[in-house]
């Protein structure tokens, strides 16, 4: 059986875009544009999160405490907000990934 402690029924499952964002933040904190590019690279160009949607995803993840604001860095005259994955975010992403791995394993076995 999978470890479902984090994925109790009250937590909504992660949407694909959310999972990709968490995965992208796994390695290092990123700002918005960095996230769009990282997700595109990881999905081999198949998933291009639109800016309008990216901030909805980030907003939900922030609300659930899966990510937080790392720093507001200034580059030239523009300020960029960097986001970073929290430990709850890491655990949730891993649990979700295991769950998916089980399903995918079954699919691949067929």
């Amino acid at each position: 059986m999978l470890n479902m402690s984090i994925l109790d029924s009250s937590t909504p499952p992660l949407k694909p875009a959310e999972l990709f964002v968490l995965a992208a933040l796994h390695a290092a904190p990123l700002h918005g544009y960095g996230l769009v590019q990282e997700v595109a690279t990881r999905s081999q160009g198949r998933i291009r999160i639109r800016p309008g949607n990216l901030y909805r995803v980030l907003d939900r993840l922030l609300e659930r405490g899966l990510i937080d604001v790392h720093e507001r860095a200034s580059a030239g005259d523009e300020r960029r907000t960097y986001y970073r994955i929290t430990s709850l975010g890491r655990r949730t992403a891993q649990a979700e990934a295991k769950l998916l791995a089980g399903v995918i394993g079954e699919l691949l076995a067929i």
Binding site: H31, G32, Y33, R50, P51, G52, D59
Partner: protein
């Protein structure tokens, strides 16, 4: 600029992420305004707003003080809506009455709009529909609308045209499909290989034709129409690649077409033009005057119908000079083009416009009635409004409240109306299919729903503002008991005006329905020239590749009649080429009259028909002079013909046609006229009969035969016998279109009958609504005048004279309405002039009868509520003063 679209997101979201989001948009979409960025922000913003809505709404409701103009307006709207719904539920009778009228009004308009949208407004469902034109070769002096084109002409126009980038041909023929349990007759469109490309039609399965399919010796292929594929193969994709034995060839199915309106004929399958041996035979393909093809062209981009017409006229002029024999001056040959879209809808336009006018009139009545009801209700709410005003409500605020209520009603009516429309749409589509092949496109889609929504909002707004228009009497008066006589009078005047308009419009509708009804009665009493009782007809298309030679047709025909005649119950049987009242093209021939002086006018023209000796007796067509054909009228006896009365009157005015001799162009023998028969309505009850020339079947056999059987046996038995006999003679011979002459006649009357029925239903609905309106106003007037009536009664007035007074007042409104209605009636008669038969559009009888009906209904509607006068107790009435 993008900030504006950012506002689609909820405020909380904007506060957190606006700067980052705009920055990212610049990174991804570039600096400056980009529509894609705007769409992205708007779309996701709305989604975020919807996702956050439940939570925000809860918080917002709990917040004590509401900030911001927008939020306050929303709060007001919600409050009004809640209040409105409660108020509407409280007065259930009123709400039901209004909903019912609105439902009928919006429903009828939505349904008719969906038909008009599909048939008249939307572009043709062919990708190049707007560029397609129908090429026509009319004979100006010979009064022929379109003589068609010969293969040689098609080639010339295709090579010489500069305005068209494609010229395609079409003709129809009948094939016999073998191999099934029963031989099937298959209607086949024979077209140029680029026919589908020109129209821009893509196949649903497989492919359409390519140039290689249309060369001599190519493997025979065919493409199924969607309808035939569904009907005969239940949409089975496995049909692709199957082979069909059609007459003597084995064709392979290479494609199935998507559903689309079929023009100019309805067919089962399509074949490339090489499949038709006649068209490619030497007689047809090498003769410039062998005109039998329908031709379409596609406008080159940038070309208009006018430039195409000019281009075609120039080519025609060149051809007329090059081949003077093929284009005799006496006929007045022309070549022109008509837009395909107009041709497809020409038949339906007049009827649809009448229906649209009718439903719009109905909507006027509905609105007037709802306004009337709303005003009646306002009277009861006067005090409520006065209290609101006293507490500080502005006029605008009250208007807003009423508007919200009315919009709720109108939208509810709209929703119900769409349900009603969807319920009646199939019947309406079947009705429209009698006029145009585009009826297959009729459906309730987004456009129609948008129309219904627009209509609801429009009526709701109109009705919300209308009743508020009469000036308010002073507030103090309204607050007092039973006061405000001036306001009442103003309101009564407004309501009376509404009644007058309702009567006027009802009158116009009644005139429309009346004209249609009288026209139908006229059509029903038309003598079609034949006896419809106990006659069965059946279509027998002979297989032209197997038994197409004249002697084969004769042998089959004689054998068939010999067998049928001896069956029990059969009185007589005959063969001919067409059933009366059909809409197929007649076989037109030109001829010369022996001894006629040469003229430079067009040649005499008649429709050639074939007839076995018993045809006229079997159909009940009276022989007016001379004799019918006999078995002797065949080679080598001298050739004879029978003509109809129109023919005789037209070509031999004041003379006896009997014994005269004519020669059909292209024939070698002179033919003597030996009989004159009564006219038969060949092309429809409303159409004048043409000049008919009957030749004996033994001399002029047709491939496409109609068997006519008069029998004492029931039609079903005769049909079984006919099918059985033909199957026994030749199991590979299909029999189709089995109908009795009575059915043929009833079918011919079906569209005018349905039109009359629809208009009649609308008119009755209008009268019903109007009567309810009249009764409502009279009842209101009586209740407002209870005191006056009490006083009059106390002073000794007879109740009957008071009753007469009230009715007189009501009838004055009806009279005024009728007078105004004549104008509406004239308008509707004008639109209908193309639809009526046998009466003038301004038929006085219809006007008088309509007025009488409305006056009668109006009188009853006045009397019923006026009877309350008798119940007035003068003492009570006086005390309440």
């Amino acid at each position: 600029m993008l900030r504006l679209f950012l506002r689609a997101y909820p405020k909380r979201f904007r506060e957190r992420h606006a700067e980052d989001l705009l920055r990212l948009c610049r990174d991804v979409y570039g600096v400056g305004f980009s529509p894609r960025a705007a769409a992205d922000l708007f779309w996701n913003g709305m989604k975020e707003r919807l996702g956050a809505a439940p939570r925000d709404f809860g918080e917002w409701l709990e917040r004590p003080a509401r900030q911001g103009r927008g939020e306050r307006a929303l709060a007001t709207l919600l409050h009004d809506a809640r209040y409105g719904i409660r108020a509407l539920i409280a007065s259930r009778g009123f709400t039901a009455a209004i909903l019912l009228t609105l439902t009928l009004g919006i429903g009828a308009n939505t349904a008719i709009f969906s038909v008009i949208d599909a048939v008249l407004l939307r572009p043709l469902p062919y990708a190049h529909g707007h560029r397609m034109v129908h090429l026509l070769q009319p004979l100006q002096r010979g009064r022929v609308e379109n003589a068609g084109f010969s293969p040689l002409e098609v080639k010339d126009y295709r090579e010489q045209t500069r305005a068209l980038d494609a010229v395609v041909e079409y003709h129809q023929m009948q094939f016999t499909l073998l191999g099934g349990a029963e031989a099937q007759r298959v209607s086949t469109a024979v077209v140029s290989a680029n026919f589908f490309d020109a129209f821009g039609v893509r196949p649903l399965l497989g492919r359409t034709f390519v140039a290689d399919d249309d060369v001599q010796g190519a493997a025979p292929v065919l493409v199924l129409t969607y309808e035939y594929w569904q009907r005969a193969y239940r949409g089975d994709p496995e049909v692709m690649g199957k082979t069909f034995t059609m007459n003597d060839k084995v064709d392979q199915v290479v494609g199935v077409l998507a559903p689309m309106p079929q023009y100019p004929g309805v067919n089962d399958v399509f074949m490339p033009s090489v499949a038709c041996p006649f068209r490619n035979g030497p007689r047809w393909s090498q003769t410039r005057t062998a005109r039998g093809l329908t031709v379409f062209g596609r406008l080159r981009s940038g070309a208009t119908l006018a430039t195409a017409q000019k281009d075609l006229a120039q080519i025609a002029e060149r051809l007329h000079t090059a081949y003077p024999d093929a284009y005799p001056k006496s006929e007045g040959f022309l070549t022109t083009a008509a837009s395909l879209r107009d041709e497809l809808t020409r038949g339906a336009r007049p009827t649809l416009i009448v229906l649209l006018a009718t439903t719009l009139f109905l909507l006027v009545i509905v609105c007037a009635n709802v306004a009337n009801l709303t005003m009646a209700r306002l009277v009861r709410r006067e005090k409520e409004m006065a209290v609101r005003t006293a507490l500080g409500a502005t006029r605008l605020r009250l208007l807003q409240l009423l508007l919200t209520e009315n919009l709720i009603l109108a939208i509810a009516g709209g929703v119900l109306g769409v349900l009603v429309a969807s319920w009646g749409l199939d019947a309406l589509a079947a009705f429209a299919a009698r006029f145009t092949t585009r009826a297959s496109e009729i459906r309730l889609d987004g456009r129609v729903l948008l129309f219904a929504l627009g209509l609801s909002l429009f009526t709701g707004t109109l009705l919300g503002c209308l009743p508020a228009l009469p000036a308010r009497a002073n507030l103090a008066a309204d607050l007092k008991e039973g006061a405000g006589a001036t306001a009442h009078r103003a309101r009564l005047r407004a309501r009376s005006a509404l009644i007058v308009s309702q009567v006027a419009v009802s009158f116009a509708l009644l005139i429309g329905a009346g004209l249609m009804l009288r026209s139908l009665l006229n059509l029903q009493s038309v003598d079609a020239g034949f006896d419809v009782e106990n006659v069965l007809t059946a279509r027998v298309d002979l297989n032209w590749s197997r038994s197409g030679r004249p002697e084969q047709i004769r042998t089959f025909g004689d054998g068939l009649l010999d067998r049928i005649r001896v069956e029990p119950g059969v009185i007589s049987a005959a063969l001919t080429g067409s059933v009366p009242l059909n809409d197929t093209n007649p076989f037109g021939v030109e001829f010369q009259i022996e001894g006629a002086p040469p003229s430079d006018g067009p040649r005499p023209r008649a429709d050639l028909e074939t007839a076995t000796p018993d045809l006229f007796q079997t159909m009940g067509v009276p022989l007016l002079a001379g004799r019918a054909f006999t078995a002797m009228d065949r080679d080598p006896a001298p050739p004879v013909a029978i003509v109809n009365q129109s023919f005789a009157r037209h070509f031999f005015p004041g003379e006896d046609a009997l014994g005269k001799r004519i020669k059909v162009v292209g024939a070698t023998n002179w033919v003597q006229i030996v009989g004159v028969v009564a006219d038969v309505k060949q092309h429809g009850l409303e159409r004048e009969p043409g000049n008919e020339l009957y030749a004996p079947f033994a001399i002029q056999p047709f491939l496409d035969l109609r068997l006519i059987v008069r029998s004492r046996a029931p039609a079903a038995d005769v049909e079984r016998m006919v099918r059985g006999t033909i199957k026994e003679m030749d199991p590979q011979q299909p029999v189709t279109e089995v109908r009795t002459l009575a059915q043929v006649r009833a079918d011919n009357l079906a569209s005018p009958r349905l039109t009359a029925l629809l208009l009649g239903a609308f008119a009755i609905l209008a009268i019903f609504i109007t009567a309810a309106g009249i009764a409502g106003v009279i009842a209101y007037s009586v209740s407002q005048r209870t005191q006056e009536i009490g006083i009059r009664l106390a002073l000794g007035a007879a109740p009957s004279s008071l009753l007469a007074m009230v009715v007189r007042q009501g009838m004055a409104l009806v009279g005024l309405g009728l007078a105004l209605g004549i104008l509406g009636g004239l308008a509707i008669s004008r639109v209908m002039s193309g639809l009526v038969f046998g009466i003038a559009a301004h038929d006085p009888v219809t006007y008088v009868a309509g007025a009488a009906v409305l006056a009668g209904v109006g009188a009853v509607a006045c009397l019923v509520p006026a009877r309350r006068i008798a119940e007035v107790d003068p003492m009570i009435a006086l005390r309440s003063a």
